[in-house]
């Protein structure tokens, strides 16, 4: 996916609104697709606004809102270029209609880079259209006209029209050519760059039903679904005749995994007249499971096996620059260390849920999904329906974090509604969510690094022991047509894996989803003698994208071991990083020795070391880094940086650690470079707060253990998300403004916070933290 919109051509279309007013849509045309299809590329609309006769502008929020602020952010860009007051703008959530709205998804921090230019164009195009209509009405040159607050003004004659008065006429004029549009000079922005509250805030603070879990349909029944606790297992037998007799229970089904394709979803479904009746009945449910091959999966065994593999020749070499062994031989100092991190649950606070209503061959579904188009495909496949017979109503989500890329809950509810012919709401319990995730994969990294006598990093070897799918997921009933879901493919999209327990083939072994690394992952290209080796263990546990996939784990290991090397070199860890970035990098293309089709990566494409140096220098200055040597005993400052999702982030934390390993993060300074414009500073700051606190929870406490092929943890007592008194009291979000196209903020602020704080704890205590969560090493929050 192209990170910026520069290589696309845009078109506008204008049409009249029934009852007066105008509708304008922007269409994007990716040039690559255009060339590839001999000029037959479809036009893809990506904005949709109406101007009513009373001047009220309605903008469709087309993308799924998971709390990232996109429902406010995209419309405000249009409104500024259109030159209307924000109070005159109404936002409507669009349903799934990709023919009308183009791409509708939330993931990969892509909304900003892919919409920044077209959203401004549609606003500017509508404004030009309205000015043309006024010029015609007054018979004056358009150059004499100005706009402000939703009006076209002619200063010399003191005449003025509201946009609403012009909209019907404007709709009859031909759409302006995008190439002729002049976009606002940033100094003239009235909305962009000003802090703006979320458009749903009034409804949120008054408890309005906004979320999927709040949907109610007439005659609706409530469902619960007991899945096999071992991933991929299925029901042997169950006491469903007994369950059917319990109060409030209407229907009980045993569902085979193959029936609802796309995830580990075989189980027993109980449909009752209330959520509580369904849960009570479920307590009496007795199931004998056919657990299948994943029952052998154990984190304890993975950890042992990883250590054994680290001592053997790797299954694959992903990258080899220079001569890493010669580098170590010539080094003045060599350091070795092993790092690990666990599986993680996404844990959005709104549990997975879906409501479905099947009537006259059509299915209506209300779902919170980051990828609603993929959800529709999955439902159609599972229920053997045409996608055109399925309507997806998009609802606000109580968090996504990548979990709602996968949609496994949607076919479940759809299946029940189609079987029963009555509306069904399926609500997962917290335990369902924790036991049936597509987890952030665990990983094991074995490092060796060498510095020369001058303290320069001359050799680095990483051996990453990761996962490959253990067994082919159940074949879907029909050939798959779904596009890849989000940043990583859903279960079922991977090539045939090796048999369980067998040694994987050396080349082209598939990574389990999000268990990958790219051949250009930093510090690749910046160390003269560098090797990145891989070994694989078969895994039956489903894995998937988790906020800043890949990066959320890789930043911790890479930036922590970088800190170890700085320490070995006797250098200031921040300056050591700047020096590293000053090395002329090896070209981005695959290095000699890199496997063909190396897989993974992509996130490092376009990495510009000068921008990273910029944020490092700024965080050094705003945090008072030079004063770190004067801190009291037990207090330390740490630094780390990471590039992902086109965003450059460097962070510094100051932490205090007492004799009982109790940790207080006193303050965090974050500096991000996401280009020349912070579109909504309030939301941008929120995303940094959120990323920091999310990452600190992962650092200290969060872990999903796998034993017997099951997730060990079931609710928040065992999966302790951060609470207020544990959170840093101060998080400063700074922006390094550079002349680059704006990019997204949902993810890139997260990865560096883990190593930043781990490195600060090292500075405070001399203890290096090499495995997550550090709560298991005896640490806790103060």
């Amino acid at each position: 996916m192209s990170p910026v919109a520069m290589d696309r051509r845009s078109f506008l279309r204008v049409s009249a609104l029934a009852g007066g007013g105008m509708v304008i849509a922007a269409y994007m045309d990716p040039v690559a697709a255009f060339q590839g299809r001999g000029g037959q590329a479809p036009l893809v609309p990506n904005a949709f606004i109406t101007i009513a006769p009373d001047g009220i502008v309605t903008i469709i929020g087309k993308n799924p809102e998971i709390g990232q602020g996109v429902k406010t952010m995209l419309p405000l860009i249009i409104a500024d270029e259109l030159d209307v007051d924000w109070k005159d703008v109404r936002i409507m959530q669009g349903d799934l209609d990709t023919a009308k709205y183009g791409g509708q998804s939330a993931g990969g921090s892509t909304a900003t880079p892919s919409n920044w230019t077209p959203m401004r164009q549609v606003g500017a195009g509508a404004r030009a259209q309205l000015m043309a209509a006024a010029a015609a009405r007054w018979n004056v040159p358009v150059t004499e006209l100005t706009t402000a607050s939703g009006r076209v003004n002619h200063a010399s004659s003191k005449r003025s029209f509201g946009y609403g008065e012009l909209a019907t006429e404007a709709a009859k004029l031909p759409a302006p050519d995008v190439a002729t549009l002049t976009l606002k000079d940033p100094k003239d922005y009235k909305i962009i760059g000003k802090p703006l509250g979320g458009v749903d805030n009034p409804s949120i603070v008054t408890g309005k039903p906004l979320y999927g879990i709040d949907v109610t349909r007439p005659g609706m029944l409530h469902a619960t679904w007991q899945r096999c606790p071992v991933f991929g297992g299925k029901v042997g037998s169950a006491n469903i005749d007994e369950i059917k007799t319990l109060p409030g229970v209407k229907h009980v089904f045993i569902v085979d995994p193959a029936v609802v394709g796309g995830g580990p979803v075989g189980g027993v479904a109980i449909v009752a007249d209330s959520f509580w009746a369904a849960q009570k009945a479920r307590q009496a449910l007795k199931v004998t499971w056919d657990e299948g091959p994943t029952a052998s999966n154990s984190m304890t065994e993975f950890a042992k096996r990883a250590v054994a593999l680290s001592k053997e020749a790797p299954h694959r070499t992903l990258r080899a620059d220079g001569d890493v062994n010669a580098g170590f031989s010539g080094a003045a100092k060599v350091v070795e260390a092993a790092y690990t991190y666990p599986f993680l649950n996404h844990a959005p606070l709104e549990p997975m849920n879906a409501t479905a209503e099947f009537k006259d061959g059509k299915l209506d579904m209300w779902i919170g999904s980051q990828t609603p188009a993929s959800a529709r495909t999955a439902i159609a496949r599972a229920l053997q329906m045409q996608e055109t017979d399925i309507n997806i109503h998009m609802v606000r989500m109580g968090g996504g974090f990548g979990r709602r890329l996968y949609n496994d809950y949607a076919p479940e509810a759809g299946y029940l509604a189609k079987q029963l012919g009555v509306p069904v709401k399926l609500v997962w319990t917290r335990e369902d969510d924790m036991h049936n995730d597509l987890y952030r994969p665990a990983g094991f990294h074995f490092f060796k690094g060498g510095v020369d006598a001058q303290g320069k990093l001359v050799a680095w070897r990483g051996h990453f022991v990761t996962f490959t799918p253990q067994q082919a997921p159940a074949a879907p009933p029909q050939p798959a047509t779904a596009a890849a879901v989000g940043a990583t493919p859903p279960p079922g999209a991977t090539p045939p894996p090796p048999p369980a327990g067998a040694a994987p083939p050396a080349q082209n072994t598939p990574f389990s989803p999000s268990a990958n690394v790219g051949a250009t992952e930093f510090l690749a290209r910046f160390v003269p003698n560098f090797a990145l080796d891989l070994s694989f263990m078969p895994l039956g546990v489903p894995t998937g994208a988790h906020r800043a996939p890949g990066s959320n784990a890789l930043a911790f290991v890479m930036q922590s071991f970088t800190d170890e090397m700085a320490h070995a070199a006797g250098k200031d860890p921040l300056q050591f990083r700047i020096d590293l970035l000053n090395v002329p990098p090896i070209a981005m293309t695959a290095a000699p020795g890199a496997a063909p089709n190396a897989g993974g990566g992509g996130q490092q494409q376009g990495f510009d070391p000068a921008r990273m140096r910029g944020v490092l220098e700024m965080v050094r200055d705003v945090s008072g880094w030079a004063g770190r040597t004067k801190l009291p005993a037990g207090t330390g400052m740490g630094v780390a940086f990471h590039f992902s999702h086109s965003g450059y982030f460097a962070q510094v934390a100051r932490v205090r650690v007492d004799a009982n390993k109790r940790v207080r993060v006193e303050k965090v300074w974050s500096v991000g470079d996401v280009g020349r414009q912070i579109i909504n500073p309030s939301n941008a700051e929120s995303q940094v707060h959120s990323a920091v606190i999310d990452g600190l929870g992962q650092l200290m406490s969060l872990e999903i253990g796998i034993e017997g092929g099951k997730a060990v943890q079931g609710n928040f007592q065992q999966y302790p998300l951060m609470r207020m008194r544990q959170a840093p009291p101060e998080i400063e979000a700074h922006w390094k403004i550079t002349d680059n196209n704006p990019t997204g903020l949902g993810e890139p602020a997260l990865p560096p916070i883990l190593p930043t704080v781990a490195n600060a704890i090292f500075a405070a205590t001399g203890q290096r933290l090499r495995s997550l969560p550090i709560g298991k090493l005896g640490y806790s929050w103060m």
């Binding site: 039903p209 879990i213 968090g399 609710n715 998300l721 008194r725 009291p729």
Partner: protein, 179 residues
């Protein structure tokens, strides 16, 4: 079994099993969807409501224990988003996904009703019952501080007018019990 529930000043009789948690009566019987389900074990606080003027986790309160007692939900906090916490939350743009915020506001409302001059550590202690998965804690704390400030201004204004000045933090807690 029938139970008389006094929710937001209005009494309704509901017929549900006596072990039904108040949360599910509010959501599925009374159609008050502002109170959220997050964990079902009293850990996350998304289901926080006021029962007899105290913040409770409604997933842990059986309907039988809530009958004939004043209950206030987020929908009853104010008719028009005028409660100082609701104003402060909007002014500071506190929510991200927003799912936990009704529970956060209800916990904070109970705190401020008893302690209008809250300190940072008072807030930390009282709000430990509520999880925000998005991590909006910095702004939640600022929002509570700001609401306390707005409330003082409101009390000062009311004192000047010499009318029936509210003595407590918020008149909301004056729930009319059973009619």
């Amino acid at each position: 079994m029938p139970f008389a529930l006094n929710v937001n000043g209005k009494t309704t009789t509901v017929d549900v099993p006596d072990d039904t948690p108040l949360l599910w009566v509010l959501r599925d019987v009374l159609d008050l969807k502002g109170t959220k389900f997050g964990c079902g074990v009293g850990q996350c606080g998304a289901c926080t409501v006021h029962l007899r003027g105290r913040a409770v986790r409604s997933c842990q309160v059986l309907v039988s224990a809530a009958a004939n007692a004043p209950i206030v939900t987020i929908e009853g906090l104010s008719a028009d988003a005028s409660h100082p916490l609701q104003k402060a939350w909007q002014e500071l743009d506190v929510p991200e996904c927003g799912y936990c915020q009704a529970g956060q506001i209800m916990s904070a409302a109970a705190l401020l009703a008893n302690n209008p001059d809250v300190s940072s550590s008072d807030i930390d202690a009282a709000m430990n019952t509520n999880i925000c998965r998005c991590g909006t804690y910095v702004r939640i704390k600022k929002g509570i501080m700001r609401a306390a400030q707005l409330n003082k201004a409101r009390l000062a204004e009311a004192a000047k007018s010499k009318d029936d000045a509210p003595k407590k933090f918020i008149p909301l807690e004056k729930v009319e019990v059973t009619r």
